[in-house]
């Protein structure tokens, strides 16, 4: 869609960003003759393809396999160093082979099993929501995580267009966010979250969390039904309940291992049903994306898109692909091979809400110049994909015990929520009463 078409036809852009799944883990089945049989999608056609074999520490070859959805014994490795190992550069071939996922898993967790979970692929029977969306809307099979690292740098890239972090350790550094950009441009925006929002980890966002910009997911149907066109937000970020948060409003549903996909499938179905049933859906763009691949195998090498910041944070490629789907009336049924990442959403926001030709930021423009397209390039003003679709209920909504390896994110959430109570006391406890139990327990 052109900027003019965007301005004339799109009122609302909705972004749902889940956690830690690779394209092949979630949507690789689409290519397989036994399941999706879609030759247009770059997924897994043959589990026995010799090119997919990953060696383990014993030198054994491990191929992808069909994995039944469910909880894992632990998280999977996805720090910057581990992602580098997973992508496995072959100097002779001068390219990444994507054959180090099993080695990274075994090295990180002292586990050596016949079917390493990092090589597991889900099928549509495990994905009652995602499989329907993939069948009816636009599957993006060249949507990459922004940088080859973990959650924090990738969410910073996604929501700021830049990252001052190389890896996930603790609280987020103070950076200009998309919230600032939207405020500066007078765009109505809102976060609806099923739990504490991710950017609670950025200290100066804490005070924003107490404003009407941040609301609970259960407020969404009411707001959708009652707000007029001048109140209803133009940009909406919808966040799951994060597994790593120490305080939960509801069971976690972010798809981050050790969590299975079923809770996230229910969450996405709930969000889709709410939005798609509204007349506002007809002028909306809905993006279901992920922050990064989470340690799961993907067979497509990253794009050579470099990133540098002034403090020395440097990446030479994107990360592995993520299973992103674009839905709504302007999303064609099919597949897009355009080179995209989560900063493609920031480009779209700039085209829709910026002044003529304005970029979101210099960093995002730099990615565009390196070949990362705007999300607008895959939207079609004439798609007319207006039907609302229904989903089955996930068979296995189980929540595993606490993650096996305490993560940097857990510590960061813990610190951030204590800071929220410390700085805002009554206000924080009124808006988030769940924090009372958290403070008392501490």
């Amino acid at each position: 869609m052109t900027p003019e078409e965007l301005k004339n036809k799109v009122d609302t852009i909705v972004v749902v960003m889940m956690e830690n799944r690779s394209f092949d883990n979630v949507l690789g089945y689409l290519r397989h003759p036994q399941f999706g049989n879609r030759s247009d999608v770059d997924g897994i056609e043959d589990l026995a393809n010799p090119g997919y074999i990953n060696l383990n520490l014993d030198g054994q070859g491990k191929s992808p396999f069909w994995l039944a959805d469910g909880a894992f014994i632990s998280d999977l490795p996805h720090s910057a160093d581990e992602v580098k190992l997973q992508m496995k550069l072959a100097r002779l071939a001068r390219r990444f082979t994507m054959t180090g996922f099993v080695e990274a898993y075994e090295s990180a967790f002292h586990s050596q099993v016949a079917d390493p979970p990092v090589m597991g692929l889900l099928r549509q029977s495990d994905l009652p929501t995602t499989s329907v969306l993939a069948d009816r809307y636009t599957v993006c099979d060249r949507w990459f995580s922004c940088v080859p690292s973990s959650t924090a740098p990738n969410r910073l890239m996604s929501m700021c267009g830049a990252t001052a972090l190389r890896d996930t350790h603790t609280l987020l550094p103070e950076q200009p966010t998309v919230y600032d950009w939207l405020l500066e441009h007078g765009v109505r925006w809102r976060v609806y979250s099923a739990g504490f929002p991710f950017f609670a980890l950025m200290p100066r966002v804490l005070s924003l969390m107490l404003t009407g910009h941040f609301r609970r997911l259960e407020d969404l149907p009411r707001d959708l039904a009652t707000e007029g066109p001048d109140e209803w937000p133009q940009v909406i970020f919808i966040e799951p309940e994060y597994y790593d948060s120490p305080v939960h409003f509801r069971p976690p549903c972010d798809n981050h291992p050790p969590l299975g996909m079923a809770p996230g499938e229910s969450f996405v179905a709930q969000v889709y049903r709410t939005l798609a049933a509204s007349p506002r859906w007809q002028r909306s763009v809905f993006v279901l994306t992920y922050d990064e691949h989470g340690g799961f195998f993907d067979h497509v090498p990253p794009l050579p898109v470099t990133y540098r910041n002034a403090n020395g944070v440097a990446f030479d490629t994107t990360g592995p692909r993520t299973p992103t789907i674009v839905a709504g009336p302007y999303a064609r049924r099919g597949v897009s091979h355009a080179h995209l990442d989560n900063t493609s959403i920031l480009q779209l926001l700039a085209e829709r809400f910026g002044t003529g030709g304005e970029s979101f930021s210099r960093d995002v423009l730099d990615r565009r110049n390196q070949g990362i397209a705007s999300l607008s390039t895959i939207l079609d003003a004439a798609a007319n994909n207006t039907q609302m679709f229904t989903f089955a209920t996930p068979a296995n909504v189980n929540v595993p015990p606490a993650p096996a390896v305490p993560s940097g994110l857990q510590t960061a959430f813990d610190t951030a929520l204590r800071d929220l109570v410390s700085r805002h006391q009554t206000e924080a406890l009124i808006k988030y009463p769940e924090l009372r139990g958290f403070v008392r327990a501490a």
Binding site: D46, A48, N49, P50, G51, Y52, I53, L55, L57, D58, G59, Q60, G61, S63, I73, S74, K88, L89, A90, R91, L92, A93, R94, R95, T97, M98, T99, G100, F109, H110, S111, Q112, V113, A114, P401, A402, P403, A404, V405, P406, Q410, T411, D414, T415, R418, V421, S422, V439, R440, A442
Partner: protein
């Protein structure tokens, strides 16, 4: 107010003092060898910080079960593929776990990665080396063939006999497995080379990720090693 202050201060102290030292941590869980014939002896070694329980499934005589010391060894003789699971908890931090499968595979993908330091490409031939470790010495090769569906023309394969240190070389082609390696231990290095296929080149490099053959194994007299 003082009480509220304590509420805020204590978690910080606890978190700061325990973040590094009080979480459960597994330093080692190993099985040697991990690829065996039925009944063969496997040495388990573990080391962790915290309180640990071990399960061996299916259990065998002398297999650890339940609470185990924070470092230890055990000798087991599994008769079937076996999973060893170690779960560790500690006063602070989430529980952690590790799993090992003791395998008795009869067909093993021997994959030489193009990312291996030994990989080379010249004169229209690409080669690399697979390094199979932790296989029992009496897990012997029966046949070596190509993986079903592999579209390459064939492979030249060299494997060093761990007993005689003599290299043995053979060619495998589609539907033409070789028994030249019969009786040799599967463990050790396998040098695999193949002519470049259509669309492949050394320079500019356009090479496959892996060169793969399948080694089918047996356990000698089939009775297993009861030593």
């Amino acid at each position: 107010m003082a009480g509220q202050g304590m509420v805020r201060i204590w978690p910080w102290l606890v978190a700061a003092s325990c973040s590094a030292c009080c979480h459960p941590k597994i330093a080692k869980l190993e099985a040697t060898p991990r690829h065996v014939c039925p009944g063969e002896r496997v040495e388990l070694v573990w080391e962790f910080s915290g309180s640990g329980t071990m399960t061996v499934t299916p259990s065998t005589a002398s297999a650890p079960a339940g609470h185990v010391a924070d470092r230890g060894t055990a000798s087991i003789q599994p008769m079937a593929p076996t999973r060893v699971e170690l779960r560790v908890t500690r006063t602070f931090g989430a529980p952690t776990g590790a799993q090992l499968d003791i395998e008795m595979a009869q067909g093993e993908s021997v994959a030489a990665s193009i990312a291996d330091d030994s990989a080379a490409c010249s004169a229209g031939v690409v080669s690399s080396t697979a390094h199979l470790r932790n296989f029992a010495p009496d897990l012997a090769v029966a046949l070596v063939g190509m993986q079903p569906g592999d579209s390459r023309a064939g492979y030249d394969v060299t494997h060093v006999d761990a007993r005689t240190h003599q290299p043995v070389t053979a060619h495998v082609a589609p539907a033409a497995p070789t028994d030249r390696f019969a009786g040799m231990p599967i463990g050790g290095d396998w040098v695999i080379s193949s002519p470049l296929a259509a669309g492949e080149s050394c320079d500019p490099p356009s090479l496959p990720n892996n060169l793969v053959v399948v080694a089918y194994t047996n356990c000698g007299d089939g009775e297993g090693d009861q030593r």
